[in-house]
Assembly symmetry: C2
C-alpha cells in the first residue's frame, strides 16, 4: 500500500516534522532518517531527527548524521511524525515520548512484518530498503536530489542489500543505484567505509571466533562462538563455508543464557528453528535466546537442525 497522496498532503501542511527510526539503527535506518530530513528541509519545513540509540561509527560518518539527536535532547512535542524502517511502533523505543497527543504518524517501511501502525502507511515489502521507497517519494515530490541526499539513499541501499548481494536486490534497486551514481555519489568510498572496513577489536574477535569453528551434520552446518556483542557478520563466516547450508553463532548473553544467530543458504528455514526455541526472524536469518550453558545451547540447536535436515531429505 503506497499512500503517497495522503503522506504528501500531511507533509506539506505540517508546521514541523519529527523523524524517527528503529533502535540500534543500521545503514538503512540512518540513511532513511537523513534522507527524509533532507527532503523535508528542501520543502522549507523545520525537521527534527532523533534516534534512541547512539549511531555506530561507520554510519555516523554519513553527511548530516550529526543532526540526529537523542530524544532527551529535544524539548518540543510533535503532531506530525515520519517513522522510517520500523516494522512496529515499539521499534522506535523512547522516541515516542516526543509525540503530541493524537499525532499523525506517517509509517514508511519495507518490512514484510510491518503492522501498519501509522495514521498513513507507505509500506512496500518488496523494496530492498526503506531508502528505495524514499527515492520513489523524492521523484513523486519532484525534489531535486542533491549529492548529499543521493549519498544517504545509496548508503541505505548498500547496507540493506549487503552490497547488492542479497536476494532482495531487484533491477529497480540497481537502476536507482545507477541514478544515484550519476548524481555524484562516491560509491567506492561508501562501500569501503560501510561494507569493507573492520575495526581492530572486530579483527581480534574474528581471530578468536574463527578458532572455534566446528563443522557438523556431514558438513551441512557450521557453528562458532563469540564472547563479544559487536559480532556483526561473524556468523556468515560459518554459513559461507562451501557445502554448508546453515551457519550458527553462539554468544553468552548473561550467566544463564546463550544468544543464537542462525543464517541459512537455501535448504532450511531457520525462522522455524528460532520460533521453536522462542525466537523469530526470516527464513534465511533468524535468532533466539536459550537458557543453559554454551554446550547445552549447541546441543539443542544441532538436534533441531538435524531433525530439520531429515525433513528436507525425506
Amino acid at each position: 500500500m503506497l499512500d503517497w497522496t495522503s503522506a504528501t498532503k500531511t507533509l506539506q501542511n505540517a508546521s514541523q516534522i519529527l523523524v524517527v527510526s528503529h533502535v540500534n539503527p543500521d545503514g538503512d535506518a540512518i540513511g532513511s532518517t537523513l534522507a527524509v530530513g533532507n527532503m523535508v528541509e528542501s520543502l522549507g519545513i523545520p525537521v527534527t531527527l532523533v534516534n534512541e540509540s547512539p549511531i555506530p561509527d561507520k554510519i555516523a560518518s554519513l553527511p548530516g548524521a550529526e543532526k540526529i539527536q537523542f530524544p532527551s535532547q529535544v524539548s518540543e512535542r510533535f503532531a506530525v511524525i515520519i517513522a522510517v524502517d520500523a516494522a512496529d511502533i515499539s521499534r522506535i523505543g523512547n522516541c515516542q515520548q516526543l509525540f503530541a497527543d493524537n499525532p499523525t504518524i506517517i509509517n514508511i517501511d519495507h518490512h514484510a512484518t510491518n503492522d501498519y501502525f501509522g495514521t498513513i502507511n507507505v509500506v512496500k515489502s518488496d523494496a530492498a530498503a526503506t531508502v528505495e521507497i524514499l527515492y520513489d517519494w523524492a521523484e513523486y515530490l519532484k525534489i531535486s536530489i542533491s549529492k548529499q541526499l543521493a549519498t544517504v539513499l545509496y548508503a541505505g541501499l548498500l547496507t540493506d542489500t549487503g552490497g547488492f548481494r542479497y536476494s532482495n536486490t531487484t533491477s529497480h534497486t540497481l537502476r536507482i543505484a545507477a541514478n544515484l551514481l550519476d548524481l555524484g555519489v562516491a560509491s567506492y568510498e561508501l562501500a569501503d567505509r560501510l561494507l569493507e572496513t573492520i575495526s581492530t577489536s572486530y579483527l581480534e574477535q574474528l581471530k578468536d571466533s574463527l578458532a572455534t569453528i566446528q563443522i557438523d551434520l556431514d558438513g551441512k552446518v557450521a557453528y562458532l562462538t563469540s564472547m563479544e556483542e559487536d559480532n556483526e557478520g561473524l556468523v556468515n563466516f560459518a554459513r559461507n563455508i562451501e557445502g554448508v547450508d546453515v551457519g550458527v553463532l553462539f554468544r553468552p548473553k548473561d550467566e544463564h543464557h546463550i544468544k543464537v544467530s542462525l543464517r541459512s543458504r537455501q535448504l532450511i528455514d531457520v525462522s522455524q528453528i528460532a520460533l521453536s526455541l522462542g525466537g523469530g526472524g526470516h527464513a534465511r536469518a533468524a535468532g533466539c535466546t536459550i537458557e543453559g550453558t554454551m554446550d547445552e545451547a549447541i546441543e539443542v540447536v544441532i538436534q533441531k537442525l538435524k531433525a530439520a535436515f531429515e525433513g528436507v531429505n525425506e
Copy 2:
C-alpha cells in the same frame, strides 16, 4: 577505440571462431569467454573455447563452462580469433598454438595497459569489465540475450567490480546489471557462489594468516603472511582495518624469494612501491617478488612504505 563495425564484419564472415582469454582466468575472463561463445553460436557460427589453465571451481559452475577446453584437446587451427580480457598476447599463454598463419585477431578488453595486439581492437579502459563491452556488442548485434548469456555477463560484472564495490563501477555498469536481472539472472545465487563462499582450506589459511597480522607505521600499514598459494582476498583483511591505508601480504614463493601483494585505500600509490622492487600493478593493487627471507622482505617493504608516507605528509 571501439571498432564494432570491423569486428562485426569479421565475425559474420568467419567459418569458425576460436575464443581465448588469459591464463589463470578470473570471473571476467571466463564470463567473457562464455559470453562470446554464446553470442557467436547464436549467429550460427561454430565456435571453440579454450584456456591454458584449469578453471577455478567457483567459476567452473557457470553455465557452459564445461565447453572450455585446454589447447591440447583441440586439433584444428583457426584463422579468426576473439581474445577477451587479455591486455597483451602473452597473457593467453599456449592458446597461440591453435592460430593459423596470419590470423585475424579481434582483441576485446578493458585493461588500460592493453597494447592493441589485435588485427581489430575493441578496447574500452573505462569499462568495469570485459563483459560490459560484450553486453554493448550484443546490443549492437541485436542478439536476444538469453538467461544463460545474461548469467555469464553478470558473473563477469560481479567479480571484476567486487560486487559493485570497486571504483571501476559506473552507472552504466549498474544499468547493465539491472537489465541482466530483468532477463532472469539469479543474482543472489551468483553473488553467494562467486563472492561469498569460502572453501574449508581457505578458512584454515584465513585462521593461520589472521594470527600473523601486524600493524605498523602508526596504524597506517597492516601486513600478514600466508604459506599457501590460494590466498585470494587475504590481503584485504589487512587493508580493511580501520585507519590502515596499505595492506600487505607476504608469501614464500620458493626457498629464496618472497611474493608481496600490496593493496591501498587512498594515500599511497602502491604500484610505485612495487615498481621500485621490480614488480608492477595499479595504484590501489600491486605486487612484486623480493629475494631474501621473510623478515628481510618485510623490512624492505616497510622501509619503502615509511618513505612513501613521509612523502605524503610533506
